[in-house]
Subunit: 493 residues, 2 copies
């Protein structure tokens, strides 16, 4: 393990390689033989399950219900919304046949040409089209509204360059789709769900996010407005971590979904959609982890406390175990997940390195000397600080420490982020500094031309017009034209 | 609603149509525009979520961990296991391209021929191949075993004749895949998971099941043994509700997965796989429901208690609500899901019919007279019995009644099933009686020929060689040859 750990690239050497190494070595995910698709391993999936459980609870609190819509979408559905098809046609996996048969040589299988579909089906890249086609049958009067459905599912967007969790051809996500009687209600819903995402990112993932609205260029294909939460990674790049779209009446018009209002007149329905994906795993990993491995916020750690006895012989192990068992029981009663590792086929040093790599927030170690002295060693993964403390009161010490770690990870990430947000008014300076990462608050003239030039010159993009920022009018640093507000510009994943 | 309810076909008239009606009218699911694929509506999905939650808990208790493997499988993987490809090639959805483009007329999208895949990908019909290809990288020594992974996902088997939940081209399921060092351990695992399924069916779904082993003809494609749980529907037909497979070393050999045993010699790994799907929803619906609609066992009902106030004017509503609120609070504290429906845009009669249709186990109704007399009306959905009882002690009454209903549904289904299991030794008698449904215990000579003849003559199939049945040798009723045991023969879904 010591040797394997050495193989974890240092962040300072190559941040990107460090990430790829970590994903594999911490057993979160691995590449599959299918291009751009990953296998999410049990340890990675356990973190995703914790995310899902909490998000699902928050969605349901707002009145959202889960449902399930088909994986496959008739090709023609895509074309109905003009922007939508432009956005997704280039990355669709297409099902054209429904049967294989033996090859003539008999040693392999080939596509059976007689089983060609009349209309090709695409694997959903997102489900607005099939869902709005379904909502047509559900919505007749204002009494049927609002409808608020969510589904947890897999989607497919054929990507040429992929990275585990951050960009994969298949990914897991949730997509919420709501239908409303008024524009106002839909806009409120879209913003409400952005708030749910922001709260989850900050309170559960300990990842600070900036909320804002996307420029037209960066909007979801078919939306009137796309709201976003943007997180900063340790290399200063942005990661779009969740989006919520106000879709206006675009999909209702494309799929002819109207309702009779209280005056008995037909109106098109107003829509939102919103989603977060396994991309959140990428944010979680990249924001907190270090050169020793993963660092997990306690609220999302599958194992929160690892306990390792150090012993010589069965008698000492038994004595230590007897002393520790009530602590394990009590922690579990409190809803804390504990692993007790008394395996004898690995050395303590190996165990320590392994659990650091896996990011387990708190480690307790008890040896023969501790037994004599009624002490125990406690280590926190975030700072790697350890101390020997009295065994009495260890329960409270652990619970308090878990809260501390959760808070500390957030504060640390926020301090880093805040130290890397800059106001900038000079394009030459911007071009030079943006290479090193960071979020740049710059005046923007609102044109797609300026946006395109910045991207071409620097690879950086407008992440959003931030909320919660006191805007002033000014001058666009690129075009010199008047600008109504500052936007956040950054390189991104 | 009264009118709509009339449209629910009676079971005695047309059981099959009754089922289809019920699925739609109780808002469980509906057909989608994609052939053979359904939309699972929020109420149906809420039941499935309850099933998932409990099963997931039971799996994890046995040491199983969740993971996620790719949706798409390279076509060549299928061919590696000879029986497997025979079983699934005929019903595969095949992805051949990864991009669409605008048609020349510009008004639609067409498949882009330049984006043809080198090797076609199939949408997983089941994941043994991709998982065993992955396990090859995870397994080196006996120390790496056992591996016990499960995934909750969608799968696709192109079906020509589909019915909601029972047989759909896309369905949701879980598939467990385990890898073991010894044959014995794998066999024990396969049987253990069958037991988990049987317990879940009986204790949670209140559906009695017979456990047994499949004949060779009915085995999973690639298995050495397939264990099954078989439930009886109200028309006497069988529904295979879950299967667990002992796969031997077949997939390990096909994907070259070996481990070094304790003597440092390479051996092929032993495997199991096991799954239940949204088919369970079909069993749940068909076993308990009646001509008034759905009947749900309390443990799986999304709403367990519906409370309806009957009132004239706001003052009376307020008085009734004040009286009921502590009851609602207390029930919720006890973990019971309650809905209080004081909406004023539907008549009580409509509400009653609707909640019966939805199968809510317990209904409480309080009107002005009840308020005066300190009484409340309580109705149980399973028997439709109602009585007026004292308001005092209503909490205990409700909790006891929920338990009673759960037990009663199981006993009722078991009594029905037991009354329709027959020993039969005469083929003419069998052919006549099997038309009316039921499970027939018949001696079987063990040949595929006899099995095929029975199927051809009667559409009935061998469901399993039952466990927990005292076997005696005898004479095959079809061939007259000696038979070692009796098998269960029935028509099935």
């Amino acid at each position: 393990m010591a040797k394997e750990l050495k193989q974890l690239t240092k962040r300072a050497e190559n941040y990107s390689q460090w990430y790829n190494d970590l994903v594999v070595k911490a057993e979160l995910a691995e590449q599959s033989p299918v291009r751009g698709c990953m296998v999410i391993k049990p340890y990675g999936y356990a973190i995703w399950e914790k995310m899902q459980a909490q998000l699902d609870k928050e969605f349901k609190k707002t009145g959202v219900q889960n449902a399930y819509f088909p994986l496959l979408i008739p090709k023609s559905f895509l074309s109905r919304e003009a922007e939508h098809v432009k956005g997704f046609a280039k990355e669709c996996a297409v099902v054209t046949h429904y049967r294989l048969k033996s090859s003539e040589e008999g040693n392999s299988v080939v596509v059976d040409p007689s089983a060609k579909l009349e209309e090709e089906l695409i694997i959903r890249p997102t489900s607005e089209t099939i869902i709005w086609n379904t909502y047509k049958g559900w919505i007749h009067s204002w009494r049927d509204l609002p409808i608020m459905c969510n589904q947890w599912c897999n989607v497919m967007r054929w990507e040429m360059r992929t990275r585990p969790f951050l960009r994969t051809s298949e990914f897991l996500w949730q997509e919420g789709h709501t239908a409303h009687a008024t524009r106002e209600e839909a806009e409120v819903e879209a913003q409400k769900m952005l708030k749910v995402y922001a709260d989850f990112a900050e309170k559960w993932m300990a990842v600070p996010v900036l909320q804002g609205v996307k420029s037209e260029t960066e909007r979801f294909a078919g939306a009137l407005d796309t709201y976003t939460i943007e997180a900063m990674m340790q290399d200063g790049k942005a990661l779009q971590s969740g989006t919520s779209h106000f879709l206006g009446q675009n999909f209702a018009k494309s799929f002819d979904v109207t309702f009779l209002n209280k005056e008995n007149k037909p109106e098109y329905v107003w829509a939102t959609s919103w989603g977060v994906s396994t991309r959140l795993m990428g944010a979680l990993i990249m924001v907190h982890s270090d050169d020793n491995g993963l660092v997990l916020p306690p609220k999302l750690a599958p194992i929160q406390v690892i306990i390792v006895p150090i012993y010589k012989g069965d008698d000492q192990l038994k004595a230590i175990s007897n002393k520790l068992q009530p602590v394990i029981n009590k922690l579990e009663e409190l809803g804390i997940s504990v692993k007790y590792d008394d395996s004898d086929n690995k050395r303590p040093g190996f165990k320590f390195a392994d659990y650091e790599l896996k990011g387990i927030p708190v480690r307790l170690v008890m040896g023969g000397r501790d037994l004599e002295n009624n002490t125990i060693e406690i280590m926190r993964r975030d700072t790697l600080e350890k101390e020997s403390v009295s065994f009495d009161g260890i329960i409270e010490r652990v619970t308090t420490l878990l809260d501390d770690i959760q808070a500390n990870l957030f504060e640390k990430a926020r301090a880093y982020r805040d130290a890397h947000v800059y106001e900038c008014d000079n394009y030459d300076e911007f071009k030079e500094r943006v290479k090193d990462g960071g979020f740049f608050l710059c005046h923007w003239d609102g044109t797609a031309e300026t946006e395109a030039k910045i991207k071409e010159d620097t690879q950086a993009t407008i992440r959003c017009v931030p909320f919660d920022y006191e805007q002033t009018e000014g001058v666009d640093m690129v075009s010199g034209k008047p600008a109504k507000c500052r936007v956040i510009i950054a390189r991104s994943y």
